[in-house]
């Protein structure tokens, strides 16, 4: 063993405190240490995931108090899978942005990596913690890192986008705190497994009230309609790699919290249907808005919101198959959307306005980046040989098995919209003529960015041609999610004790 789950949080925190000190000695360490930490987190979470899929869930207690009294971390096939996705992506984002503003004296650039590391660590913390208030603390850590990363550039719009994000995030945390207060006042506990085992004794009125507060609060983080007004601004004003990290890491954590709360904590009938409806509305509104966008990053942001809507729809189906499809979508989105953000931000690198019409004919001058962008576009709309196809197929199968024909037809219609706006960009890149007056000046990607993008592309192709590589993990995770009694059993009554 290379460590226990708590090190996924403790080591980044330790590094965050160490970095300002060692940064005084050698500036480059400010960039290197977060990378090492993220690499360690990646290795640790993947090792633990492998261990967990063989031996069963790890429940780690903190400060020596077993749940429900102390805070505990749950590293199950589900949380382990999400933590692994996040840490892998976190490392890739680090690699992509390693040389970011390296040779200029730009204070935010020195702190960028601390915030990036804390963003990943807090998202992992949100996923693996077994305590509802601890989750609130991690949401706040993530929030502060995300606001600061959004305000990275000193231009005027970035501060405004960050402020908007902060307002929504602040409201979300207030609502979350009210929900926690209601739950504590009724059940006298904050441990999620304990709440889940006692929730049936709770007065139904309070249960619904708490659930409404919870979903509203987390809906903001998970970009659910109509609470996602902050997202397109934050995505488009933040630096490219940060947009990728938002799409791949923070939103995933938000979605996880929603499903954990709806599936495990509350057994309110009708909550699944609610998820279906809200997911569908988000999907349709976001994809139709994406169609109208003129700026590349805003289009990607709306597409990301739409994908999250689709994930929530898949969870809302309420079966193990649905959860499988949703997790598959989350995995694919976490590797495809970053590729689009990375290659997309190189396509419009030298442009001020970052408009879609400025990419005309770049395929000739930036063939490598353009091909990668096209690959990402094909994959995300779900064309057959790529990764996105299998996840979309599994959503449709899951819906078909439940007889939800309306949903299937809506998803197909929305997919057509998606194809239209992605292919419009690809068409501009490859088939329109390069025009010196309107198109951007081509820009060669740096070496580390090339490695990152190629890694992501390889992952997309591997999952596309050989989906069996991940289906086993996804099956375990979806069964783990739907099996609440086992979760309670694991946390409260021993389960797999920890090896050292």
């Amino acid at each position: 063993m290379v460590g226990t789950p708590v090190l996924l949080i403790a080591i980044p925190l330790l590094a965050a405190f160490v970095i300002p000190l060692v940064g005084m000695i050698w500036k480059e360490l400010v960039r290197i240490i977060p990378g090492l930490v993220l690499a360690y987190m990646m290795v640790l979470s993947v090792t633990l995931l492998h261990y967990v899929s063989v031996h069963g869930t790890i429940v780690e207690t903190i400060a020596g108090w077993s749940p429900p009294w102390g805070i505990n971390l749950v590293f199950s096939p589900l949380t382990g899978l999400l933590a692994s996705i996040m840490t892998i992506l976190g490392f890739l984002v680090w690699m992509y942005s390693y040389r970011f503003k390296r040779n200029v004296d730009f204070e935010p650039a020195k702190k960028y990596f601390i915030f990036l590391m804390m963003l990943v660590a807090s998202a992992v913390g949100m996923v693996i913690t077994g305590d509802i208030f601890n989750m609130f603390v991690f949401i706040e850590i993530m929030g502060i890192s995300a606001y600061t990363l959004t305000a990275f550039y000193t231009g005027r719009n970035s501060a405004e986008a960050a402020f908007k994000y902060l307002m929504m995030g602040g409201l979300a945390s207030s609502l979350l705190l009210i929900a926690i207060a209601i739950i504590y006042s009724q059940l006298g506990t904050l441990n999620m497994a304990d709440i889940a085992s006692k929730i049936s004794t709770m007065n139904p009125g309070y249960k619904i009230t708490a659930l409404v507060f919870f979903i509203t609060a987390i809906g903001i983080e998970a970009e659910m309609f109509p609470l996602n007004g902050w997202a397109p601004d934050a995505y488009s004003e933040a630096p490219g790699p940060v947009g990728a990290a938002f799409a791949g890491i923070t939103v995933k954590a938000g979605i996880y919290v929603i499903i954990r709360i709806v599936f495990t904590l509350f057994d309110v009938p009708g909550a699944y249907d609610f998820l279906l409806v809200i997911g569908l509305i988000t999907l349709i509104v976001a994809e139709t808005t994406a169609l109208r966008q003129e700026r590349l990053k805003r289009m990607l942001a709306y597409s990301s919101i739409g994908q999250m809507g689709l994930v929530v729809v898949a969870f809302g189906i309420g079966t193990v198959e649905g959860a499988y499809a949703a997790l598959f979508l989350m995995l694919n989105h976490a590797i495809i959307k970053p590729l689009l953000f990375f290659s997309g931000s190189y396509l419009v690198f030298n442009s001020k306005e970052k408009r879609i019409c400025e990419v005309n004919g770049l395929g000739k001058y930036m063939p490598f980046t353009s091909v990668l962008f096209a690959l990402g576009a094909f994959a995300i709309v779900g064309l057959p040989p790529f990764a996105g196809f299998w996840s979309k197929l599994s959503v449709l199968t899951a819906a078909a098995n439940e007889g939800l024909l309306l949903i299937i037809s809506l998803i197909l219609i929305v997919s057509v919209i998606e194809i239209v706006y992605y292919f419009r960009v690809v068409n501009r890149i490859f088939f329109l003529k390069y025009d010196k007056s309107t198109s951007v000046v081509p820009h060669r990607p740096r070496f580390n960015a090339v490695i990152t993008m190629v890694t992501l592309a390889i992952l997309i192709l591997v999952i596309g041609f050989y989906p069996d590589a991940v289906t086993g993990l996804l099956h375990n995770a979806s069964q783990d999610l739907m099996n609440t009694p086992e979760y309670i059993q694991n946390v409260l009554h021993g389960g797999q004790s920890l090896i050292r």
Binding site: F133, F163, S185, D233
Partner: protein, 124 residues
Amino acid sequence: MDDNLLKILEIGVLSTSVLMILIGLYAVLTKRSLIKIVIGLSIIDGGIHLLLITLGYLKRGTAPIFSPGYEHAADKMVDPVPQALVLTAIVIGFAVTAVALSLIIRLYRHHHTLEIDEIKTLKW
């Protein structure tokens, strides 16, 4: 204190906390000045903290501290958990407020105004 007075106090504290949350929400929803919005958020936070503490209150209870002479008073002590949660929540609220204020400073630098209507360059 007699029971009626305690009852009035309980209702008073509870309604104060709800009122604070509502006042804060009102400020966030209607005020057009950035500073006032942040003040509104802080008021919401304050209301929630008061609410949490109130939920932990026990009639005629004592502070959850086992000082000499109170070693066996555990059943008379108020609930310590909300107090610990509020301690955490206050610090977090403070940190978020600090970041919000610094963003406002940044916005003021560029726009020389704090009115939302004059700042809107992105869609709200």
